[in-house]
Amino acid sequence: MAVITTVQALNDALGLMMAEDQRVYCLGEDIGKMGGDFGVTRGLYDEFGGERVRDTPLSEAAIIGAAVGSAMVGMRPVAEIMFADFIGTCYDQVVNNAAKVHYMFDGQFRAPIVIRTACGGGFGGGPHHSQQIEGWFMNVPGLVIVAPSNPHDAKGLLIASIEDDNPILFLEHKALYRQKGEVPEGKYTVPLRKAKVVRPGKDITVVTSMKTLYDAMAAANELEAEGISVEVIDLRTLRPWDHQTVLESVARTGRAIVVNEAPKIGGLAADVSAVISEEAFSYLKAPVMRVCGLDTPIPFSLPLEKLILPDKDRVKQGILKVCGK
């Protein structure tokens, strides 16, 4: 099995799907000859040409609109929004069109699009190049949000997303782009709406996604020495997320922490925490805790940014508190 980066794994998935299915094409800013800001579409222009690896102007509404319209007549577009922070410029297209065409016309049309976008902080990107945006979309029926944490899942989830008939917002954390991992050659899928227990444990469940998985894993490894057994879950699909895997885990451990990079108020962690409280209250030995970003925009200077995002130590402190230590 080849050891490749997340960027290469995503590139592999796009190349495989474009070769297999003529309906699949990419569109976005600087994705053609340049290969995208992060290189995810590198080489695809040479292989498939400018019709299927389509450079656009800075017109995010048109990128998503063109994707939705072409999907309604049978294409399978993969749109790239360069930075997730830019998605406000096409919010209406995602929320009112992509997510609703199937419902409001009672099933007559489908919008099987994938919107790939680079998200997440920790690198000094500042207020408009660092945000975690799933919270902006948690309240949008019809939309699916997928978020891989490693190269293997990135490839398998992207292929599954392209093959799925729902509109999918596919989040790629910038801190994980250069991370390497074993990735099978050829086509395979990782199931959507299915979380994964990455590390089994007995004392507490930590629900994570994307980069926060690694904060939780590091905290769990350190706490193992202190006699606390931590179970870590990677949600992989953030909306609608996998209630069953999380609730079964909490039923075993009796304690839960939800970690999320976005601000705590009204976000993914709030929903996960609420569902655990509603559905697994009788198993809980302590209140569910959220470890999230603070209620601030992302500051530019690195030490300031570090102050507002969750990290290994903050997850560790949370675990100790919920475990009564």
Binding site: S59, G69, A71, P141
Partner: protein
């Protein structure tokens, strides 16, 4: 200019009456409380709507705007299913889930209206792009009002349609006002062709109350697009009868001009009589037939059942169901 045969002219005239009677019946039922939600009607814009409908093929795409109930049935959807949709009934074209602002019919490539004005201009671009990539020769027609020219999607879609030579037919129904705001007050130009020309899209203005002129301009637009020459823009200068929420706000002489002196059906009628294409009795019969047909649709809608409760949670996702109160 393409010739218009007497039969074609009469067909246009009949469809103007069908649109007029449909909208009048709808307005009447709305005031009676039988039609829920909000209502925008296309009264006064019948010539433009008939001209568009008679120039598109069934396989061409249409994105009708909020005053386009007429286009919905003129495109080929049974009128009773449109009426039932506007009444929120189970027999509606979208099972009562879309209503006036979201009535689509995939079987005739009607991709539906949109509650956010102009938002679907980029969707129409996408349909055109998809068809072009698939080697199809269909036209993707999108109807927008004058007020939409302030929206970003207007400019993004025109720029990219021009760059991609996408088969988009931009139909601008300029009735002079965005709700209460006159076009020229809030836009850099009163002539919205100016915007299209700046994107290097062929663009013409036509008297949208003159059905023959509108028909001929539309035919030329569609021929250009179908020949693979890229997008085309037509601005139909017209006027809507419907005031706004607080009633009539426009100058009395303007109202008189458009509702009496330059009223589209009266103009066509006078011309048909002058050219000897039909007798006054024949033209009156066309009006009465249209009225009877529309009233049948109204009674079909009124007698149709309300939607099955299961429809409320149906077709949110493909592949799985959402939670309902029962579960």
């Amino acid at each position: 200019m393409p010739e218009v045969s007497p039969d074609q002219y009469l067909a246009l005239f009949r469809d103007m009456w069908r649109v007029r009677k449909f909208e009048q019946a709808l307005e009447r039922e709305f005031k009676r409380g039988k039609v829920p939600g909000m209502l925008h009607v296309g009264l006064g814009q019948e010539a433009t709507l008939a001209a568009i409908a008679h120039s598109l093929r069934k396989e061409d795409g249409i994105f009708p705007d909020h005053r386009c109930h007429g286009l919905l049935f003129l495109k080929g959807t049974p009128g009773k299913k449109i009426m039932a949709e506007l009444f929120g009934r189970a027999t509606g074209i979208c099972s009562g889930k879309g209503g006036s602002l979201h009535s689509a019919d995939a079987s005739v490539n009607n991709f539906g209206d949109n509650g956010v004005q102009g938002s679907y201009m980029v969707t129409a671009l996408g349909v055109a792009l998809g068809w072009k990539m698939q080697g199809k020769n269909n036209v993707s027609a999108v109807v927008v009002g004058d007020g939409t020219s302030g929206r970003g999607e207007w400019h993004e879609s025109m720029n990219l349609a021009s760059v991609w030579k996408a088969p988009v037919f931009f139909i601008c129904v300029n009735n002079g006002y965005a709700i209460s705001t006159p076009v020229g007050f809030s836009h850099a130009t009163e002539d919205l062709v100016d915007f299209a020309k700046s994107y290097k899209i062929p663009a013409v203005q036509v008297d949208g109350n003159d059905v023959l002129a509108s028909f001929q301009a539309t035919q030329e637009a569609v021929a250009h697009i179908r020949a693979g020459k890229g997008p085309y823009f037509v601005e139909y200068k017209t006027w809507r009868w419907q005031g706004m929420f607080s009633g009539e706000f426009r100058p009395a002489e303007e109202v008189k001009y458009y509702k009496e002196d330059h009223e589209p059906i009266a103009l066509a009628k006078a011309d048909l009589l002058k050219k000897g294409i039909a007798s006054p009795e024949q033209l009156d019969a066309i009006e009465k037939e249209a009225e009877a047909e529309i009233e049948e649709w109204v009674s079909y809608a009124q007698n149709s059942p309300l939607p099955d409760p299961a429809k409320a949670t149906a077709n949110v996702y493909i592949g799985w169901e959402v939670e309902s109160w029962q579960s």
